[in-house]
């Protein structure tokens, strides 16, 4: 598998942090709006009650001062926000979408599926420290915020969600611009263009791109490698736990069929899920017959069909963002299981969900000479 996950960028620009990173980023966006580069910014913001952060689309640049680019939770996957704004068309506004790497990658997957229109969107990402489970945050927002800030300072991911702890793509650049925090000197951060669009933004802002970003590259590379090891290990352990069918069933035994995981999944984009459609509804005698063959069946009988079926539908595009696990009311480790499966199915096709718009979706393309090892009668 391709471990070098970042497109090779040679240079970036070093930005000086004035008071703190948050304000500097907000300031950066303010300038882009004042210069007319963007008409609106999509960025997280704390809700009035203080118990969550949601995406807001801001047109009034004075509101930017309250934006929270470094929010401690991911209540809505940003790709869903981009899709909500652009699914029906690109519109008149030029918009900067400030997303985490996994959100950016999901956006790219959705774009391949015609669920977004990126013509007027500039995707800007940032080194992601991970996010906390929503429930942990809601329990005590003030305390959680402190924990989160400390965790960033100490580069400690233990309070983050399990999938974030094993995320090897937290600095992956898939959008147009990336803000690099890692490897930057004190009170600075990097801003790295990764597309023509991104370069244009910087040039419009009169920011020259000539600073060396080697420190960022090596730091993020090292982190990715470390996380990848951790990821493999975690998946191995999980495999032991869920491997056999019985174990798998036990893992999902408490599923209450709310389908929250599907609803919040950024790459589950269907209007009506197959597993909610008429296709899974049967006459009563079918259910009775099924029960009779086993003595009893769980009702609804579709829990494992749903989970496994969903894997076949979306695992190739799964970006391991962890939204599903956050939304599961029964604390089933959905994201951990799905990320494990996704890594494996994506590897089959040497596909990396969301890496690039250019990579075709594996099931929409084929190579004549591939996967021969799966065939029974290969020579």
């Amino acid at each position: 598998m391709n471990t070098s996950i970042n497109k090779q960028e040679q240079n970036g620009a070093i930005i000086a942090v004035k008071t703190n990173v948050r304000d500097t980023i907000n300031d950066f966006f303010k300038k882009t709006m004042e210069k007319g580069i963007f008409d609106a910014i999509l960025i997280p913001m704390q809700v009035p009650a203080g118990d969550s952060f949601v995406y807001v689309l801001l047109k009034d640049s004075s509101l930017l001062k309250d934006a929270s680019p470094l929010s401690p939770i991911m209540s809505v996957q940003g790709a869903k926000a981009v899709s909500s704004i652009t699914r029906l068309g690109k519109g008149h506004m030029k918009i900067a979408a400030f997303l985490r790497p996994c959100e950016t990658r999901a956006t790219i997957e959705l774009t391949k599926l015609e669920q977004t229109n990126l013509d007027n969107i500039t995707l800007i990402s940032m080194d992601c420290p991970g996010v906390m489970p929503i429930s942990d945050y809601i329990e005590d927002p003030t305390k959680a915020m402190k924990l989160f800030e400390n965790a960033i300072k100490n580069e400690d991911d233990t309070i983050m969600r399990p999938v974030c702890q094993i995320c090897d793509k937290s600095s992956m650049v898939a959008g147009d611009l990336h803000i690099g925090l890692l490897g930057a000197k004190k009170d600075t951060f990097f801003i790295i263009p990764s597309s023509e669009k991104g370069k244009q933004v910087l040039s419009d802002l009169d920011i020259t791109v000539k600073d060396n970003i080697d420190s960022w590259t090596s730091k993020t590379q090292a982190k990715a490698e470390e996380k990848q090891k951790k990821r493999k290990k975690a998946h191995k352990e999980l495999r032991l736990k869920t491997g056999a069918l019985d174990n798998f069933l036990d893992t999902f035994a408490q599923c209450i069929n709310c389908h929250n995981c599907m609803r919040v999944c950024p790459v589950c984009y269907c209007r009506v899920c197959y597993f909610d459609s008429d296709k899974v509804k049967h006459p009563s005698e079918d259910y009775l017959q099924k029960a009779e063959s086993k003595g009893s069946i769980r009702f609804l009988p579709d829990t494992s069909l749903f989970q496994m079926g969903r894997m076949t539908h979306m695992s190739l595009s799964c970006v391991s963002c962890g939204s599903c696990e956050d939304a599961c009311p029964m604390s089933i480790p959905v994201a951990q299981v799905f990320s494990m499966i996704a890594d494996e199915t994506q590897e089959l096709f040497n596909y990396n969900a969301g890496r690039s718009l250019e990579d075709p979706l594996p099931l929409k393309a084929y190579k004549e000479d591939e996967l021969r090892e799966m065939e029974d009668d290969h020579d």
Binding site: V47, P48, V54, V56, L63
Partner: protein, 143 residues
């Protein structure tokens, strides 16, 4: 000029084609004066007014929403307005119980010959809305 005087409410009025819209037309042809705060939306029958429209208007920042139709028993479509009334009282109750200002919602029966009544309802409702002030939903971005 005080702040209150500056407040020009926006009141959405769903008017049924056969009675209330005609009544509103009559108010105009009779040159009756009423506030231009009333913004008519023509529907064929008041029963087309899905409570969700009213919610949309409310959350979208309308200071008031008026639903007007034929008098009970006079519905052009026989009994549509009876259903309208049930849906409306339900919605109003929900809005009230949620601690929102249910006085921003109003139901009126205005026949095609009641230009006077339409003007009166418009004047009264606008006054009421002025008392209530601006709908705070207008500027909230977290709705």
């Amino acid at each position: 000029m005080t702040k209150d005087e500056e407040f020009k409410p926006k009141i959405l009025a769903f008017l049924c084609n056969w009675c209330s819209y005609a009544g509103a037309d009559l108010a105009g042809t009779s040159r009756l004066k009423y506030p231009s705060s009333i913004l008519p939306i023509r529907v064929m029958c008041s029963s087309r007014v899905d409570p969700l429209f009213i919610l949309r208007a409310y959350l979208g920042g309308a200071d008031g929403v008026l639903v007007a139709g034929c008098h009970p028993g006079d519905c052009h479509y026989q009994e549509g307005n009876y259903y309208t009334r049930r849906r409306f009282v339900m919605l109003k109750k929900i809005v009230e119980d949620l601690g929102l200002q249910s006085d921003r919602l109003r139901l009126a029966w205005v026949s095609a010959s009641e230009g006077q009544k339409f003007a009166k309802v418009s004047i009264d409702f606008t006054e009421k809305i002025k008392e209530l002030g601006q709908n705070s939903a207008k500027h909230n971005m977290f709705l």
